[in-house]
């Protein structure tokens, strides 16, 4: 079940094992790494480099023999930089089987790329008869070429703790992988992206105000903020809300995450934080800093207090800009947070309240008298400050708010999944009835498998214990009745998987 779910999340499964080919294939079918509905399963069984090359290229992508193929170009030029595999979408579901002997050739030199390219197009790959060293080689190959972020997961079993000690995560059952990836992995990606885009945004707004001010202060780098504000901004006023967002944020709860493995796909394709998102963040920051500067400027430019006294001084200007900035970034993070726990409330509103407390403290008479040169700013708040503040917050937040509202409408994403019930995949008939699984899992050579699977030696019985909701051909019914407990190794880690039928 775990593997079915992972397949739905478009996660490709590679099985690296030391077992025989038939065993491995059987296990693959029973675990849903390979499915009956796949468009093709290719076996690489060549005994030397040439054959293997032909098999790899010719079987899956006949056009890879052309000159214009990027891999061919790379192989000819041999540039110094490492080659990142271009993303290619297969036109159907394919599986690949390769045994250790062929793999020894396939891992050399040019064939590495071919193997990788072909294997990346497959939904599932079985490498059987592998030595431990070859297993490590294959993992290295995939890691270095695709350059995807990776974690090592060890499943503890009875054969020892070695893999567990070497891995980033360790747990006891294979099915926990589902939760790790689809729930926690997804949440982690989501949180990371939100954190990054928010952090960049708040610092852009903070800093770019000085760009606008430069035109008005003779380009003399006079700061728009009080020095204490600059010190405390990232450290005290805005650190806790960001922490709260990164620790507790959930865009969909765990039940939905497990129910819809397709939600995992944006993480694989880097959709939530990439160059485009960064540019959006930058533009939002520039716009916000523009509003943040010009609204207070317009407010105090030609203005006085109601009793005639001055409000167009640097101190008042700094105060207005600071307070507007804090409000603006607080409202922005409040909009970004979709999962409001008590802690989130406390962090966000608490930071805002804390800012006001510190403000009154720093601007108090007592402190000014004690340290006149350090604490220069004194004074009180004015009604125009509030008006200016409200206007700048509204102007900054409303476009982001509107965009957030429009995005799911115009670009269907998560909400779309939520509104539509999960479609039950209607399984079509077997496409390749000729590829029958051998009924013998332990044969050393091509035995009587064909004889037995043809059904001539057993009585045909109607099969009631069908684990797949599909109509199957008679002959394959027999294979479903084989029950065996096997020692399987996945990623070089021993574990036990009860086979379900």
């Amino acid at each position: 079940e775990t593997i079915i779910t992972l397949n739905k999340a478009k996660i490709k499964i590679w099985v690296l094992t030391g077992d025989k080919q038939e065993t491995a294939i059987n296990i693959a079918y029973s675990c849903n790494v390979f499915e009956d509905e796949m468009d093709g399963v290719f076996m690489i069984e060549g005994k030397d480099s040439e054959t293997i090359l032909q098999e790899l290229r010719g079987k899956m992508k006949p056009e890879s023999l052309l000159e214009s193929d990027p891999v061919n170009i790379y192989l000819k030029k041999k540039p110094k930089r490492t080659f990142t595999m271009p993303e290619e979408l297969p036109r159907g579901d394919y599986g690949l089987v390769i045994n250790g002997y062929s793999l020894a050739f396939a891992l050399e030199g040019n064939l590495e790329l071919e193997l990788l390219r072909t294997a990346s197009l497959c939904k599932g790959v079985i490498c059987c008869r592998m030595t431990p060293f070859q297993k490590a080689q294959v993992v290295e190959l995939v890691k270095s070429m695709i350059k995807a972020a990776h974690i090592g997961v060890g499943i503890s079993g009875q054969e020892g703790m070695q893999a567990m000690l070497n891995s980033d995560f360790a747990f006891s059952q294979f099915c926990y992988l589902q939760r790790l990836l689809l729930v926690h992995g997804r949440w982690s990606y989501n949180r990371m992206c939100k954190f990054l885009s928010y952090f960049f945004y708040k610092n852009f707004v903070f800093t770019l105000v000085h760009f606008w001010y430069a035109f008005f202060n003779g380009f003399s780098a006079q700061a728009v903020y009080d020095t204490w504000f600059i010190t405390c901004y990232n450290l005290i006023y805005t650190s806790l809300p960001v922490l709260g967002l990164s620790l507790f944020e959930q865009d969909v709860n765990e039940t939905w995450s497990l129910h819809f493995p397709e939600l995992y796909i944006p993480g694989q394709h880097n959709l939530y934080f990439n160059k485009k998102e960064f540019v959006k963040c930058l533009i939002h920051g520039i716009y916000s800093s523009f509003v943040l500067f010009f609204v207070p400027m317009g407010t105090i430019y030609n203005s006085e207090r109601s009793d005639g006294k001055d409000i167009s001084d640097i101190q008042t200007f700094c105060l207005i800009v600071q307070t507007s900035l804090i409000w603006m970034v607080t409202v922005q993070i409040a909009l970004k947070t979709t999962y409001w726990t008590m802690i989130s409330h406390f962090f966000i509103w608490g930071s805002l309240g804390f800012y006001f407390c510190i403000l009154f403290f720093l601007y108090s008479d007592g402190l000014c008298l004690m340290f006149p040169s350090i604490f220069q700013f004194l004074g009180k708040a004015l009604s125009q400050i509030w008006l200016s503040l409200i206007l700048s917050v509204i102007l900054c937040v409303i476009p982001a708010f509107g965009y957030q509202f429009l995005q799911p409408l115009v670009f269907d994403r998560i909400n779309h999944c939520k509104t539509r019930p999960p479609q039950v995949r209607v399984r079509t008939k077997l496409k390749h009835p000729s590829l029958r699984r051998s009924a013998y899992a332990f044969s050393h050579k091509q035995g009587f498998g064909a004889l037995i699977t043809s059904g001539k030696t057993t009585k045909t019985k109607p099969n009631k214990k069908n684990s797949f909701p599909v109509k199957k051909k008679e002959s394959s019914d027999i294979s479903t009745r084989i029950v065996a407990f096997q020692e399987k190794s996945i990623s070089g880690v021993p574990s036990t998987i009860p086979l379900k039928f």
């Binding site: 430019y301 006085e304 001055d310 167009s312 640097i314 700094c318 006149p372 409303i398």
Partner: protein, 343 residues
């Protein structure tokens, strides 16, 4: 398959709500109705606020006279710094069309004077100004000490460049009868400035307390002679001085100079008629390509006559309104599309 019984305690993480990410929480979903309501309500609020602000700004009367080049000979005189001890006065007549009712405030306005320059803003000594240590001139570069190495009081570039024009408003009661409009020169500053941030070393015998210091190079008289008639307005407590020391945020700024004293003919403000400003022109703005002017203005609760806030609110309100309608339209079309898609 039975598991071995572990002798050591379980290493499972706590089943607490915090560690299992199961904290009770409220998931925020902005439905279309909520979003549209927010847009609409904010739009209405902004629009109303804007209209109120515009109306209040319109009710203010303001008159500004730019006298930089009207007093041409004075301007030319001041361009040469060696003429500092020559006095130059200038008279600028103007006509007030309507009565200015209520409190009237007189400001001087400067253009192109960068009080917000970084080095300029730093050049002051707050220790000195609060009366703690009159000899502390550390931060005041380049006006720390005079040529004979005595510390300057008040030190720094801000104090040194203080505005020193004298502006007197006079009213033509009848032809050839001119009276000086009574003006107050107190209560021009923030309360905290006058009573906390700026303090004299001691009120008694001010000139003695400043022994050992010198006046800033650009000043005509030392600090303790700024207003000898009123000891509460002398020394560091001088209102004009304090107003000037509050550095402005932009190169164009106005500072409060005098307030109307509502007595005799000016009980209800300034009546309409002929007026003139008698200015003793000292401040050399033409050298820095700046300008200066006098502003007379009434005020309301929302501050001066600046229309910016009012306009900005009105425009924002109108825009939000339009946006809410547009969003509603988009939402309706998308909904229809989705429904047809589902079928």
């Amino acid at each position: 398959m039975e598991k071995e019984f572990h002798h050591h305690p379980s290493r499972m993480p706590d089943n607490s709500a915090m560690k299992q990410q199961k904290l009770p929480a409220h998931q925020l979903h902005f439905s279309a109705r909520v979003v549209l309501t927010i847009f609409f309500a904010t739009g209405v609020f902004c629009f109303c606020m804007g209209v109120i602000l515009i109306l209040s700004a319109q009710s203010i009367q303001e008159i500004e006279i730019n006298y930089t080049y009207i007093c041409e000979n004075c301007a030319k005189l001041r361009e040469n710094a060696f003429n500092f001890d020559q006095k130059c006065t200038c008279s600028v007549p103007f006509y007030l069309q309507e009565n200015m009712e209520g409190d009237v405030y007189m400001y001087y306005k400067l253009y192109g004077f960068y009080q917000n320059h970084y080095r300029y803003v730093l050049s002051r000594s707050n220790n000195q100004l609060v009366g703690k240590d009159i000899m502390d001139v550390e931060d005041c570069a380049p006006f720390k000490v005079s040529q004979n190495k005595t510390p300057i009081a008040p030190c720094g570039a801000i104090a040194n460049s203080m505005f020193n024009d004298t502006i007197i408003l006079s009213y033509t009661l009848k032809s050839s009868v001119h009276i000086q409009v009574p003006m107050l020169k107190t209560e021009l500053t923030w309360w905290t400035d006058k009573y906390v941030k700026f303090q004299n070393p001691s009120l008694i015998n001010l000139s003695d307390r400043f022994v050992g210091t010198e006046k800033p190079p650009y000043w005509q008289a030392p600090i303790y002679e700024l207003d000898t008639s009123d000891p509460g307005n002398n020394g560091f407590l001088n209102d004009d001085f304090i107003v000037w020391m509050r550095t402005a945020a932009f190169p164009t700024f106005k500072k409060l100079y005098r307030r109307l004293y509502r007595v005799q003919y000016f009980m209800d403000g300034l009546p309409a008629g002929n007026y003139s400003f008698n200015i003793s022109y000292n401040f050399p703005v033409t050298r820095i390509k700046g300008e200066k002017s006098v502003v007379l203005s009434t005020l309301t609760w929302s501050g001066g006559s600046s229309l910016f806030l009012g306009l900005a609110y009105t425009v924002t309100g109108a825009f939000l309104w339009l946006a809410s309608f547009a969003l509603m339209a988009i939402h309706m079309t998308m909904k229809k599309k989705k429904l047809s898609y589902r079928r």
